[in-house]
């Protein structure tokens, strides 16, 4: 993939921050509004994939490499497991809430649910970018 025309590049560059911000909003407000970790992560991944398709795979790999995405996916998975083990260490069941609940409707409330959504969002974002890299690199050796 070598990248696209100037029109597509300009639109992708202008649209990227808004798409990214929308995805981050859906992840952070996952416990208050519809959405959550998975849809928000997919939207963030779609914004990054848009840049990858517009600017070409070589320039995108300098910003978000294959190794970066792999490490981020593992970090998301480890965050979910550690949050679950917090509850297990304090003598209650896996993923049970141990943090203060806060007030209903506030952003900083609902115990460990926002942190769990953050972990899921990071994992889904990195996972979908990894799927795209795998699809783009799958037949690289046969073409050359």
């Amino acid at each position: 993939m070598a990248g696209m025309t100037v029109i597509v590049r300009t639109i992708a560059r202008l649209l990227f921050p808004f798409t990214f911000l929308f995805g981050a909003y859906i992840v952070i407000h996952g416990h208050l509004t519809p959405g959550g970790g998975f849809p928000g992560g997919v939207i963030i991944a779609a914004s990054i994939v848009m840049l990858i398709l517009a600017y070409g795979i070589e320039r995108a790999q300098k910003k978000v490499g294959f190794l970066h995405a792999e490490v981020l996916e593992s970090v998301g998975g480890i965050a979910i497991v550690i949050l679950g083990l917090f509850g297990l260490l304090l003598g209650i069941s896996f993923l049970q809430n141990v943090f203060p609940l806060g007030e209903l409707g506030q952003l900083f409330s609902a115990g460990n649910l926002p942190l769990l959504y953050l972990g899921v969002g990071v994992k889904v974002t990195a996972g979908i970018i990894l799927i795209f890299y795998a699809m783009l690199f799958a037949f690289r050796g046969e073409e050359e």
């Binding site: 859906i26 519809p34 959405g35 959550g36 998975f38 849809p39 997919v42 939207i43 991944a45 779609a46 994939v49 398709l53 979908i128 799927i131 795209f132 699809m135 783009l136 799958a138 037949f139």
Partner: protein, 81 residues
Amino acid sequence: MSLEFLIQNALLVFLFVLCLIAIELKDLLYSVIVLAGASITLTVVFFMLQAPDIAITQAAVGAGVTTVLFVIAISRTRRRE
């Protein structure tokens, strides 16, 4: 028999027709784009059934990610069926 009921059934029939078109088309790139339209229709149906959570997921995955995945797969293989 309200207006909402009629609109919902019309959307379901439209979804069925779009899926039939996507199966019958011989150009796979057109088929993928019709499938994205079917996904948007399914999003509206989910929203009318008061499941906005599923609607957001369907719109992001069905119209965004799967379309690009299919287009990359077509660019790696043949375009005609």
